[in-house]
């Protein structure tokens, strides 16, 4: 079998004395949706940021398609094909939708045949964003900002998208849209590594999952196995965590 698209080996992240991630290893294969699950503070976001080199790594290796990216600067990891949709969206509030996507396109490979992500293509996936093309991102609703953050990642024509808590803070209807979108992206050949609090729904669309607890992977496997496991339950699925109350 060929090398996985993303492979992370023995990754550790520390913020000063606090070890957020310990010896984490995971793989994402082409065209998969892989879920990274766990309670608050389990180290999920730290793992995502460490993959692109923006969290303080204290050990481990990261490779994309067999190419070692451990010592590569963030900008070049992103240019190699890893786009991130961060928790909290972090759209550029003082730029228009168009300019957010323009910056998203910075990482696009020069020889990518699809060209820049244009308004029509955006409108195909996110009709509302195309309508608000020249509006400032800061004026968009939370759901639209989430769409913009995803579109900004897609503008890079990435090989892998890291999606960090894409449904956080959205109304139940919008949460449904985000999950439908993830499935649609996979159909379009985009590989996803998804961090989500909403474990049940994520496991419905994911191929495989890893469960994190206190910075360590405690369980890994096919989505249905992970869903059935008591360890998952113990890690965080019990009670209301599977159906978090929307905050927006």
């Amino acid at each position: 079998m060929s090398a996985p698209l993303l492979s992370v080996h023995d990754l550790s992240v520390s913020y000063g004395p606090v070890r957020a991630v310990r010896d984490l290893s995971l793989e994402v294969r082409r065209d998969e949706i892989v879920a990274l699950l766990g309670a608050n503070g389990a180290g999920k976001s730290s793992t995502m940021w460490a993959i692109v080199g923006l969290a303080p790594r204290t050990g481990g290796r990261v490779a994309l398609d067999g190419r070692d990216l451990t010592k590569t600067a963030t900008e070049d990891v992103v240019r190699a094909g890893v786009a991130i949709v961060p928790e909290g969206r972090r759209v550029f509030a003082n730029l228009s939708v168009r300019d957010n996507l323009r910056l998203g396109g910075v990482a696009r490979a020069a020889d990518d045949r699809r060209g820049p992500l244009g308004r029509d293509e955006v409108g195909d996936l996110f009709p509302l964003l195309a309508e608000r093309w020249d509006d400032l991102a800061g004026g968009l609703s939370g759901g639209q900002q989430q769409q913009l953050a995803i579109a900004r990642a897609l503008a890079a024509r990435p090989r892998l998208v890291l999606l960090d808590e894409p449904s956080l803070g959205l109304s139940p209807r919008l949460v449904g849209e985000v999950f439908a979108l993830m499935a649609e992206l996979r159909r379009r050949g985009i590989t996803l590594l998804v961090v989500e609090q909403n474990a049940q729904r994520t496991l419905e669309i994911a191929d495989r999952a890893y469960v994190l607890q206190h910075g360590r992977i405690v369980l890994a496997g096919a989505a249905e196995e992970v869903r059935a496991s008591e360890l998952t339950e113990a890690a965080f699925l019990g009670g209301g965590a599977a159906h978090p109350t929307p905050t927006l």
Binding site: E75, D99, V106
Partner: protein, 295 residues
Amino acid sequence: MELVIQQTVNAISLGGIYALLAIGLAVVFSVAGLINIAHGELMTIGGYVMLALVGMGAPWPLIVVAIVAAPALAAILMERVAFRPLRGSGPQTLFLSSLVVAIVLQGLFQGLISPQPKGIALPGFLDDSVAIGGVTIGVNAIVTVVVVALTLAGLVWFFRRTTVGCSIRAASLDFDMVRAVGVRANRVIPLAFALSGALAGIASFLWIAQRGSVDPLLGLTPVLAAFVATAVGGLGSTAGAVLGGFLFGGLTVLFQATLPDGLLPFRDVFTFGLVIAVLAVRPRGLLAAATGERA
């Protein structure tokens, strides 16, 4: 009426120079998180380059290019030598480093050139005045207003229409995210420094055109005003820098023109007093860069 128009032109030309300097400070602050104390020295470098080239009898077009290019190159060098090695350290460290750069450069100017002001022979037409609709206005002030207007128009284009310009605007809110979309910090930071240097060069030309001499502390007064302008306008906001620059220049000219002779020596007390009042009401400035959505 004539006095009002003349003073308005003065206010715009002084405020315009402050605005160019303030934009440079704001742009560097946006991408590097640095309040560059050595910004005034970039102006001074422009002044000495002008002095040298005028002395050699170089043609004016070349002098104009050099007075913009030399501070831009100096700013890139400054970033490489004094700030890049310290990237990621706290704002205090960067601030101290820029203070050291400023003091070292001032010392070099004094030791290697002269502690005294050096006169620069400017083209005679700058001292002329013209009558427009019965109002006499100095050519100098007109040149300043036109250059400032063209520069601001160029900047609007740059910040709105180019990817680098957008990166710099976005960086004022969230530089990590700008890197996370693939913008190279090692490209955009030197570019921001170069832009700030070029603007300091333009400001230097306009400042010297009004004064006719250059000295080691040339940049001190205008850049101090520009610091105040960025604080009033909102640190890191380029629009705020422009607003603050014109406001501060306007107030200075207003008090200069209207204060009775007995109070004139206290002009700056009035302008800075008003600045403190603005900051008391809006501590983050009039147009503080909006904080990013990080809910």
